[in-house]
């Protein structure tokens, strides 16, 4: 754990706002710009990262210095999905067992030297979050990035998430507004399907940095489903991700 320079939690109040997608895109972006990055999937009941990185069939290799993560698109990936017998097995575990596997992941995975470790959490404020943060107590988490969609229903849950981070003494690096705006491919009309701007207002209200907006792009959905990287072409989406990575870097440097 000490060989990792920066550890960032990716959290959200609500499910389905695009945490895992955001974690994978940020990780691939950071790798694209030359840093060493790893992602840890702490979402035990719904591990999405292996699919996003197209490494679902990876079997964990255990060496004397720990578990070796999968490597895809320049990113080291570790997820509980690698331990399941087949990709459709449900993980019906109660709290204590989930806690234990998370502790083992954090202790036993051999990441090597990393510049960034992104930790993709399940939505909300549950067992997994508590365990992750308490087991990382000795090795401090540098901060949390809150992902949300602009709609009211998602913003409500952010307040709880912010309170949670403050209670757990986790610095909030900022808020990312995902699925902000959709451009109709045939008439270029911009629809605010999930509304827009709400996250920025909330960030100002709580005096938290606003890291950026990310649009809803169907081609990204397709790429994610097949585990490919978006960085082969430059477009609005990749620009917005780059913007967020830059802002995260700025915020971390401010704290240190």
């Amino acid at each position: 754990m000490k060989a990792i320079k920066r550890k960032i939690l990716i959290v959200s109040g609500k499910g389905g706002v695009g945490k895992s997608t955001m974690s994978s895109q940020l990780a691939m972006g950071i790798a694209h710009f030359g840093s060493k990055v790893g992602v840890l999937d702490v979402d035990i009941c719904g591990p999405s990262l292996p699919k996003l990185f197209n490494c679902e069939d990876y079997q964990i290799v255990s060496q004397e210095w720990g578990w070796i993560p999968a490597i895809s698109n320049g990113v080291s990936v570790m997820s509980v999905a690698f331990m399941l017998p087949n990709r459709d097995s449900p993980v019906i575990w109660r709290g204590p067992r989930k806690t234990n596997i998370i502790i083992r992941f954090l202790k036993d995975t051999y990441w090597g030297k990393l510049d960034y470790l992104l930790i993709d959490t399940p939505p909300g404020t549950s067992d997994e979050h508590l365990s992750t943060i308490s087991s990382l107590k000795n090795v401090k988490v540098d901060g949390a990035v809150i992902v949300t969609t602009p709609q009211e229903l998602a913003l409500d849950t952010i307040r709880r998430e912010i309170t949670f981070c403050q209670k757990m003494n986790v610095t909030i690096l900022g808020i990312v507004e995902n699925m902000s705006g959709y451009v109709c491919p045939c008439c270029d009309e911009i629809s605010d399907i999930f509304s827009t701007g709400g996250a920025e207002e909330l960030a100002n209200e709580f005096d938290i940095p606003f890291l950026g907006k990310v649009p809803l792009d169907p081609s990204v959905v397709q790429l994610c489903d097949t585990g490919k990287t978006i960085w082969e072409t430059e477009n609005q989406y990749s620009d917005s991700i780059k913007n967020i990575i830059d802002n995260i870097e700025i915020e971390i440097n401010k704290i240190q």
Partner: protein, 314 residues
């Protein structure tokens, strides 16, 4: 021996052989991973060398509720709460008595969607009174706790809250209880599945592969705990452009419909992605109530009719 990873038979074998005190503690810890309390008597009997067959937990039948329909999904953010509320309201429009229970303890959405944000539940005659709006009764932890308090609860507390909402709320006689489950296969879904007699689960998903992987896990979980699956709803199926009416499949095309066919599950219907649904939900004026003539309301109505058909044919 790493006792934590031992199977039940191994643990029994060790327990039978008069373990040392430190081993006893380790066995207890291993058992605690799967509700030690319920196995404690079994463990005690084992210590005396007697065997006891573990009995399957009996599911309770809540007599005041005719049909219990949880709305589940493998993945978060597919639109469970929006769908649950609109289905509940569609059923209510058929002159049925409907209750809506928010089992999502960490992120309760029902108060916002039902326009009851900031309201608190009152206790009368030692029972919690459900809040009413648009003709249905609803209850959520959102009515019991302040809006900005983070619900940092571990499993047992979540289970306790679910049990309380089921039994200590004055629901009265209900034709249907719609339960808005949290995403995934966590404590809330498991508790409900194991302790309550469920008519059938409605699974909501978006068409994309990423959601479907989680859905099939959810389906397997319900199969494992013997809960029947009513059917699958494909939400955010396609986006209808306001300007040109173009249908674009943002999250993929018919992914959930195909999966339902492959898994031999009934397909209940598609709901398109449209600003109107989100806007009305955010304002707390669900579309079934605020725009009863719209095509989206019709989509929810047809799903409600399928649910009624399923329940009356059982």
């Amino acid at each position: 021996i790493n006792l934590f990873w031992c199977g039940q038979d191994m643990l029994r074998w060790i327990a039978k052989r008069k373990p040392y005190p430190h081993q006893k503690r380790l066995i207890q810890y291993a058992y605690s991973a799967d509700s030690f309390q319920s196995k404690k008597h079994e463990f005690e009997k084992l210590k005396q060398g007697k065997r006891k067959e573990a009995s399957a937990p009996t599911k309770g039948r809540l007599t005041n509720m005719k049909h219990i329909i949880p709305i589940a999904s493998g993945k978060g953010g597919v639109g469970k709460s929006t769908t649950a509320v609109n289905i509940a309201l569609s059923l209510a429009a058929q002159n049925l008595t409907v209750g809506l229970m928010d089992a999502d303890v960490h992120g309760p959405s029902i108060p916002t969607v039902m326009n009851l944000k900031g309201k608190k539940a009152i206790v009368e005659n030692q029972k919690i009174q459900p809040l009413m709006n648009f003709g249905i009764k609803c209850m959520s932890t959102g009515f019991l706790v302040d809006e900005d308090k983070a619900m940092i609860w571990r499993g047992p507390m979540v289970i306790g809250a679910i049990r309380q909402i089921l039994t200590s709320v004055e629901w009265g006689e209900l034709d249907y209880l719609i339960i808005d489950l949290p995403p995934g296969t966590g404590d809330a879904s498991l508790t409900l599945a194991q302790e309550v007699e469920i008519d059938g689960v409605v699974i909501v998903s978006t068409p994309q592969d990423l959601a479907l992987a989680d859905v099939s896990r959810g389906v397997q979980m319900f199969n494992t705990v013997n809960v029947p699956i009513l059917g699958v709803v494909e939400n955010m199926s396609y986006h209808i452009c306001e300007n040109c009416g173009n249908h674009s499949h943002i999250f993929g095309d018919s992914g959930a419909e195909n999966m339902a066919k492959n898994m031999n599950l009934q397909f209940l219907g598609k709901i398109p992605l449209h600003q109107n649904i989100r806007e009305t939900t955010d304002k707390g004026q669900p579309i079934v109530v605020s725009q009863p003539k719209s095509q989206f309301t019709q989509a929810y109505n047809s799903i409600a009719m399928n649910i009624i058909k399923y329940c009356t044919n059982k």
